[in-house]
Amino acid sequence: MKQKLMILLVVAGGFLAGTRALAHHSFAATYFEDKTEKIEGNLVQFLFRNPHSFVQVEAEDEHGVMQRWAVEWGAGGQLGRQGVTRDTLKPGDHVIIVGNPGRNPEDHRMRMVNITRPSDGWKWGGSFE
C-alpha cells in the first residue's frame, strides 16, 4: 500500500512539475508520440536550460550513417527536481537513448523517453509531461 502511494505521489509530482515545461511548443505537433526509436552513441553536448534542455549525440541513423541527434528533455528546474544536474552528463559519455522521433526525419530530433549510460549504469526514465 505504502509502495503504491509512493508511486502515485512520484507520478503525480512528475505530472505537476511536467506541466511547467511543455508550453513552449506542442509535443504532439513536434514528435510522433505513439512511436519510439533508439540511438546509441557519444554525447556531444548537454544543454541544461529553459524552456527545454537538449542532449546532442552523435549516433548512426537507420541507414548506418553517422548523424548529430538533438534530443529534447525537460526544463532545467524540472530535471533538477528529478536528480539531474548540469554535471550529470558530459561530452564523450557513451549513452543509449530511447525517444519519440521528430516529425521531420531530416531534423534527427527526438523527445527523450529514457537514457542509459552503460559505463556506470546511470539511468533516467522520468516524465516531463
Partner: protein
Amino acid sequence: MIKFLKPVPRWGLVIVIAFIGVSLSAEVDLSGTWANRGHQDWLDRGRGPDVVDYLGLPISEAGREKALAYTSALQSEPERQCEYYAPTYMVLGPFGLNIWNETDPVTSKIIAWRMGAWIDKDIDTVWMDGRAHPSKNAFHPYSGFTTGVWEGDTLTTRSTHMKVAYIRRNGTPTSDQTTLTEHIVRHGDILAIMGIIEDPVYLTEPAVMASIWEQDPHANVPRMSQACEPIAEDPRLEDGTVPHYLPGKNPFVNEVTQIYHIPQEAVMGGAETMYPEFRKKIKDKYIRPEKCDRYCCGPVTDPALKCIRDGSGKER
C-alpha cells in the same frame, strides 16, 4: 429609544459613509498563488494540440494558410527560442498563476494588478488608474498593454499592443492587431478567466476561451520567468534555414482525419465549426472509430486507475 433616534452629528455621518464605502466596494482581492486546473481542453493545454487541427477556431483564410506553413522547428531558431507568447496565452496555457498588486503609497489605492510571468509569458500589468491606451503606433511589448475596470465583482480588462503570437500551439496565428477582453471572476478559492480574442487579420469572429485556477498556497508559482538561453537546438538550422511548409505541402493535413475520422472540412476550422449546428452538417460524414488509439484517458496520471475505452479489454 427616542434618545437613540436623535439626529446624528455631521462628523458621525462622515464616519458612517466612510465605512459604507469600504463595505460596498466591488473590488475583490485577486492576489495569491493559483494552481491551474486543466480540466478542459487538456490536450491543447498539456502536451499540445495535434499538428494540423483548427477545429472550433474562427480562423480566416489567411490564418489557415499561415498555420499550414508552420512547423514547430520554427521555434528552434535561436531568435525564437526565448520568445514569449502574447497575453492571450493566459486563457490558453497550462500554468499556475501568481497575482499581486501595486498600490499608490499615498492613497493606498490599487493602481495595477500584476499577473505573474510563466516560462514563456511575460508579466502582464493591468493598469487600474484610468490611464489611456497608447497610440496605435506605439511599441508592442511581449506583455501588450492592458487596462482594467471593476464591473461589480468582475474585473474586466482590455489588452492591446500585442506581438504576433499563436491562438493554438500548432502554429494557428494571431496578429499584432489582436485585442483581448478578459472577465476575471473570483468565486471563493476558484478563479475563472474568460478571454475574448478578436483579430481582424487571422480571425473572422471573436474566439472565446476560458481557464480555471484554484487558490493553493503550496503551488510555489514564481512571479518571474525563468532564464532562457538561446542555443543550437536543431543542427539543421545552423545554416540559417527557416523551417516551413510551402503551400499545399504540409504532410500532416490528413492526420486528424485518419486517426479520429473527423472530416477535413471540420479539421480546417473556420467560424462555422464553432457552432453546434455544424455537428448536424457533418453528421453523415463522421463515422466514430471502433477504438481509441491515443490520448484515451485524458489527463489521468493515477497508475492505479484502469483506462479502457473500447471493447478490446486492453488497457490504454
